[in-house]
């Protein structure tokens, strides 16, 4: 039972995500306006200890990286046009191993598309945005509780794995108001960061079985720190393709997978059915409703809401393989997540239902998925 006094308010995901990140220990927000992420920028300006308006999204990521190098945990929010500009710098932060949070609020593309229409069209981009194919963790909330708990988790894994983490939202979740009892959101304990504290000389990219090098900010005066985005050895010295450097580049991918179990989130709703809907983000809400409607009509359907989209957890395959019929429900026209899981040609028992310009509805899922 909830011992707290009920506190019912009207809010949107943007507010919950920003508050959760701040409580979790993210301490600086770099902003550049872009619809539909403007509310996050506004909230962050009211809440974050440090805030700075950047002149563009490349600067945003560079300022964030610089601040991460001195020990901050930076956050920004954007949508595709801004994100596209950030991609090279996200690669830089990934190579340098800098923790940071990038919130990507999806809207209708291609290009500028329609800034005020929702979509889930950036998943394929997220999958392949690192040169080399290394995965960047992508967390996708589909409820207020998710926004709270998973945003805090995003900060934790960004720091623990020393990596940028993407929180994936979309216009229809980020900007939709709903009533919610906020006493259900327990306070988040701020992250305590541990820096390298030994007396031996510090090698900035030396690692052990944890696969994550100890961090030291450049503000320290005990050890020389070398940070680089170029191929490098454990000392952070530029290399061509030396064995040590290649091992380091491979490690960057391995470390993301090594801890995947710790940040794999999904919800598997089981109604004893042989058919399964797979969805995420705002479309997962339509899928939840579809399951309810089908149930009323005596057609039980199971549902898998994926919340850690990337990397893909083995768990997803273990669940999906139990079903005779699988329908992916996404707010795009190509089944981007279905293709990430199964490739360009979906297996015969797997299908996809999507939409463009309109939120994918329960009716679309039931009819399009022939459920």
């Amino acid at each position: 039972m909830n011992i707290h006094e009920k506190k019912e308010v009207i809010l949107d995901d943007s507010r919950v995500i920003i508050e959760a990140l701040a409580q979790a220990g993210a301490d600086v927000y770099i902003g550049y306006p872009i619809t539909p992420s403007n509310a996050m920028y506004l909230y962050a300006s009211q809440r974050f200890p440090l805030m700075l308006p950047a002149p563009d999204e490349i600067s945003t990521l560079q300022y964030m990286s610089g601040l991460a190098i001195v020990g901050h945990i930076p956050v920004t929010a954007t949508s595709f046009p801004g994100f596209a500009l950030m991609v090279e710098s996200i690669n830089m932060a990934y190579m340098m191993e800098l923790p940071m949070i990038i919130i990507l609020t999806q809207r209708l593309g291609p290009a500028t598309g329609t800034a005020t229409a929702g979509a889930q069209g950036d998943v394929a981009l997220l999958k392949g945005m690192i040169s080399g194919g290394h995965p960047v963790p992508v967390i996708c909330p589909s409820s207020i509780e998710d926004c709270w708990h998973l945003s805090a988790k995003a900060v934790e894994i960004a720091v623990k794995l020393r990596t940028p983490v993407v929180i994936l939202s979309s216009k229809e979740r980020a900007t939709t108001n709903r009533n919610f009892d906020i006493s259900k959101l327990p306070p988040i304990k701020p992250l305590e960061r541990k820096y390298y504290s030994k007396n031996e000389p510090y090698k900035p990219y030396e690692y052990n079985e944890t696969l994550v090098p100890d961090f030291l900010p450049v503000s320290n005066t005990s050890h020389q720190v070398r940070i680089t985005a170029s191929t490098h050895d454990q000392n952070g010295i530029i290399q061509h393709t030396s064995e040590e450097a290649m091992k380091n580049t491979i490690r960057l991918e391995k470390k993301i997978f090594k801890y995947l179990n710790e940040y794999t989130y999904y919800e598997h709703i089981q109604n004893n059915s042989k058919q399964l809907i797979v969805s995420y983000g705002v479309s997962a809400n339509a899928a939840q409703e579809a399951v309810k409607i089908l149930q009323k009509n005596g057609r039980n359907t199971d549902l898998l809401i994926v919340k850690t989209l990337i990397p893909v957890s083995e768990d997803l395959y273990s669940i999906i393989e139990k079903y005779e019929k699988v329908v992916f429900a996404e707010d795009n026209i190509n089944g981007q997540y279905a293709k990430i899981l199964f490739g360009e040609k979906l297996p015969t028992h797997v299908s996809f239902v999507g939409s463009i310009g309109k939120m994918l509805s329960p009716k679309n899922i039931i009819e399009g998925g022939k459920l």
């Binding site: 009207i10 610089g66 001195v70 830089m92 939709t176 450049v218 409703e289």
Partner: protein, 426 residues
Amino acid sequence: MSNNVLNTKELPFCKGCGHHLIAQNTAKAIEELGLNILDVIFVTDIGCHGIIDKSLNTHTVHGLHGRSVALGAGISMGLPPEKKVIVFIGDGGATIGLQHILEAARLNVNLTVVVHNNFLYGMTGGQLSGLTPKGFNTIITPNGSPYGEHDICELVYTAGANYVSRVLGIGDYSETIKNALKTPGFSLIEVMEICPSYGVKFNPKRKLQEIVEAANKPIKTWTNHRDPFVFPERKIVSNLFDKTPVIEHLNKEKILTSQIQVVLSGSAGEGVQLAANILCKAAVKHGYNITQKGTYPVTVGVGFSNAEVNISPDEILFHGLSNPEYVIVTSQDGLDFSKNTIKQMNEHQWILIDKSLPLPETKAQILSYDFRGKGAKNAVISSLFFFAKLSGIIETDTLKAILSEMGMLEKLPLTAIENELVLVTV
């Protein structure tokens, strides 16, 4: 640890390259200022100069092409001013990252930028940059660059840098670098060089000084006296939820047994989303769950504005546009936007429309009132009273209480609304 900035005499540049001198002069300046070398952070760009990292005993950061000034700015912003952040960048990096340099100068970030201007991209084979003087030969323009060049010093000085100096990359110019390092805020030194491998090869007869003079680039120093960057003091809240008022339930009986949708269709700038928010608050006070989704064009203050509000005694899962029970239309923009939705409505559903508008084609029951007569800005909020009376889902008193809390009740022609409200019979 030794306090030498350089850990070797063998720097990784071609013989005769001016980059040697830049590294040596910068090292000398740091050492003569008596700085602790671990209070110094070198940020290097991409280009020949960027290979210097491994020869330095300071902290080193090596990022992307052209972005080093923004990266260095980020580092500097997070550090106290006694730390020295020095950015090494080429004329190519300064071209691609020109905006970063101007921004760092505008913000007056504590940063010293050393532009290695040898008029071309050395690492990639001698192509021209935005700082290549007109007439200078490059591999791409063997008969001389036909384009003019930026004056990077004038640009950053105008942008507000506190110390700017152009030097010829010959001999000892460590004093200039010292001055830059001593100046709080943004400083930039443009070192004019000629790349022996490509610059000399393509321009065999030319001398550095002559090139600089021909380009009309005076060797001089510019200064401003502006306050250096600090994160400004701001008022912040300790919890964003403090800004969301807690809504108390009225403990009224709920007449709804399942989810309904109310659509407000009007014009941007006429308070559609605000009215939807008030409707939501009222519904929550009456014990319902709500969602409020806005649909509007990218323009602000022109065109349609649509709000889709779901009200339900149960948890709301899908919140998109479904088959609304009520559509409230307060302007022609709203009518145009909702025309298709309205066409599909059935006889159990309701349309509340401003009386100035043509009656749309639909099976739904239409009621028309003078919403706009209450003033364009009041039209949507006024319509909520009619919705309340008609539907019984919320009470008009609840609306009044919310509007009063928001300080909006006085602005509303309440008597006119109430006089017309008696016409609503259910």
